[in-house]
């Protein structure tokens, strides 16, 4: 995290020019990204500017999953960007394939095609969530999420015959009684 953040702060000191690539999303995320650029949210105060060509861009904002039809074009757009480049996956589609992750035409998350640096989940994410993601990348705020794991430490009910348990095909099962 800190390495990436330092790198960002070093490389993108001045301003980020973003290129907005939709590889097959439903347009919900596009609208939220454009919303972010309006005077109400106004990310231009961070120096973020939308450019029309990947050759001018530092950051690619990906919306929509990687599709069979647009995968190659997305890769080409990524390759056209000049060297220190970041990819933001915006929306559940770009982060994980969305609800269409197992459809025939969908390859999966954009991570399959491009190395993604930041993920902004949501369907679509709120404009604030997108700004938050950018702020995390710029090191203005810290990220808030961390993996959660709960484990029940005791069996809720007593196990009936623990001595009969044995392992079978990687599962713990009860041994069959020889005779009843």
């Amino acid at each position: 995290m800190s390495i990436l953040q330092n790198l960002c702060q070093q490389l993108f000191k001045r301003s980020l020019w973003v290129y907005h690539a939709n590889s097959g999303g439903c347009n919900g995320c596009d609208i939220e990204v454009l919303n972010v650029l309006t005077p109400y949210y106004d990310v231009e105060r961070f120096g973020i500017k939308l450019v029309g060509s990947p050759r001018h861009a530092d950051v690619m904002l990906c919306q929509g999953p990687a599709m069979r039809s647009t995968g190659k074009a997305l890769r080409r757009a990524y390759e056209a960007m000049p060297a220190p480049k970041l990819v933001f996956a915006i929306g559940s589609c770009a982060c994980g394939g969305g609800i269409w992750h197992d459809t025939y035409s969908v390859l999966g998350p954009v991570e399959k095609i491009l190395p993604v640096s930041y993920y902004i989940p949501g369907c679509p994410p709120r404009p604030e969530a997108i700004i938050y993601g950018v702020a995390v990348a710029l090191g203005v705020v810290d990220k808030k999420s961390a993996p959660v794991k709960f484990k029940q430490m005791e069996l809720a009910i007593p196990r009936y015959h623990p001595e009969d348990l044995k392992e079978e095909n990687g599962m713990v099962v009860y041994q069959k009684c020889e005779k009843i």
Partner: protein, 174 residues
């Protein structure tokens, strides 16, 4: 004429005042019906699997480690925040929080995992299923997630040119 209109425009701009939200420094409360990230309550969940059956994104995986331990894994990466899991949960173990600041550079940060002990039949020691296969489809918790198949779903990049995808996705379950 055009100068006049420009002056008019300037006046309108001045009248509007400041509208920009100073977002990362100052937040605004979310709308009351906003649905954020679902939060699982391990104390209430009984592991019935209703949420997994009802999730349109197949976001919640149910994996039985053995007869008595079931893992409920919420991956988070493709959740659409639709709230169907919270709607179907009989124990109200899922709440749709108002959390939206989930942006991260590590996708595993948004996953939640519950490891639950499951009750078994006291006589035979097995979790029991009843009814026929069609009725089982309607039952909560019928669905097992075969992780091998999930891997297969993700591995469909074969059509791209010879070099493998830049970083092939690590499926959530190691």
């Amino acid at each position: 004429m055009s100068l006049l209109s420009k002056i008019k425009e300037t006046l309108i701009c001045f009248k509007a005042g400041r509208v920009t939200l100073p977002y990362p420094r100052e937040t605004r409360p979310v709308p009351p019906r906003f649905r954020g990230r679902p939060v699982f309550d391990a104390a209430k969940c009984v592991g019935c699997g209703g949420c997994a059956s009802n999730c349109p994104a197949r976001e919640i995986l149910m994996v039985d480690l053995c007869q008595e331990v079931r893992v409920v894994k919420y991956i988070g990466r493709r959740c659409t925040y639709c709230g169907r899991c919270a709607d179907v949960c009989p124990e109200k173990a899922i709440t749709m929080s108002k959390e939206f600041e989930t942006a991260t550079n590590e996708i595993h940060d948004i996953q939640q995992e519950l490891e639950l002990f499951m009750g078994t039949c006291q006589r035979c020691g097995r979790c029991f299923t009843d009814a026929g296969p069609l009725d089982q489809l309607k039952m909560k918790g019928y669905r097992f997630d075969e992780l091998d198949k999930d891997r297969w779903v993700y591995r469909s990049a074969g059509y791209l040119e010879k070099e493998a995808a830049v970083r092939d996705i690590e499926i959530e379950m190691d």
